[in-house]
């Protein structure tokens, strides 16, 4: 009833953008960008995922509660990543006697 109905055009545009993103990420992977390769790759993936969430999953037209739910998921996922890696990244800082 009150749910938002997006025009077909929106879906097609997003679809084409996602296809372009896929092509771009493959192309970028074969360029030597040094450490930037991973950054580019993940940035494209995040952008693609955001497009899917916003338009295919209608979050753009959803309630604030939906947004909060998604952000909560992402927040706790990042906690899992960052605090676990905090251990691995700092393990060899203090291992040698007398140093």
């Amino acid at each position: 009833m009150s749910a938002h109905v997006s025009p077909v055009r929106t879906y097609v545009v997003i679809f084409l953008a996602l296809m372009a993103g896929t092509a771009l990420t493959v192309w970028a992977a074969f360029q030597d960008l040094g450490a930037l390769n991973n950054v580019v790759m993940l940035t494209i993936a995040v952008v693609k995922a955001t497009l899917v969430v916003m338009y295919f999953m209608h979050v753009r037209h959803s309630s604030r509660l939906t947004t909060m739910t998604i952000l909560a998921g992402i927040f706790f996922l990042l906690i899992l990543f960052s605090l676990t890696l905090a251990d691995y990244a700092t393990r060899d800082w203090l291992t040698v006697a007398g140093h």
Partner: protein, 226 residues
Amino acid sequence: MSDSHGHDSLPGLAHQFDSYEQQRESASLGMWAFIVQEVMFFGGLFVTYLVYRREYAAAFAAGSHHLDVKLGAFNTAVLIASSLTMALAVRAAQLGKKKPLIGFLVGTILLGSVFLGVKTVEYSHKWHEHHVPGPHFAFESTGVHGEPIDPHNAQIFFSLYFAMTGLHALHMIVGIAILLWLIFHAARGRFTPDNYNYVEGTGLYWHFVDIIWIFLFPLLYLIGRH
């Protein structure tokens, strides 16, 4: 069976709800909470991936070179296309158009099946190359820069590859089963603009599975390709 404060005659409205709107909002929130749960489920795999990719970078790059970028990219495109048909199916349900709804659901199933078919081909390659973790695992290749690779470390890469893509494929199989169920009920005209929660919920689920693949593809197929 009539209770004084219930609704007795609204089709498709469960007894515990007072209105379609309440029912739809509940279904939507429930599905989103389920997706968040799925995010954390895959999150455990992603953090494992991060830890070992950091630790065994060379082995991960070497393992990644044994995956077929062309097939992976093709599958990414197929899955994105299936997300488009799924989104259009939800739109058809919103508008109460039965025939397009069924058509797009069938399209989604076909694309999903193509994806799984390609995945099967990839898995069988891995099986023949002894890249399936376990007692038959073997990895003789050197690294991207010619360095020797400890097969154990490459095995961790392939373990994560199979765990991640395997669970992803399992989610797709479940999704296809649900889509078949939707087609059955759509054919009986069960979904109306008031009540298409099952279509919408399945759509959210399908797009989520797509998003997982959007991350899996670069993380598994495209390491150290330059």
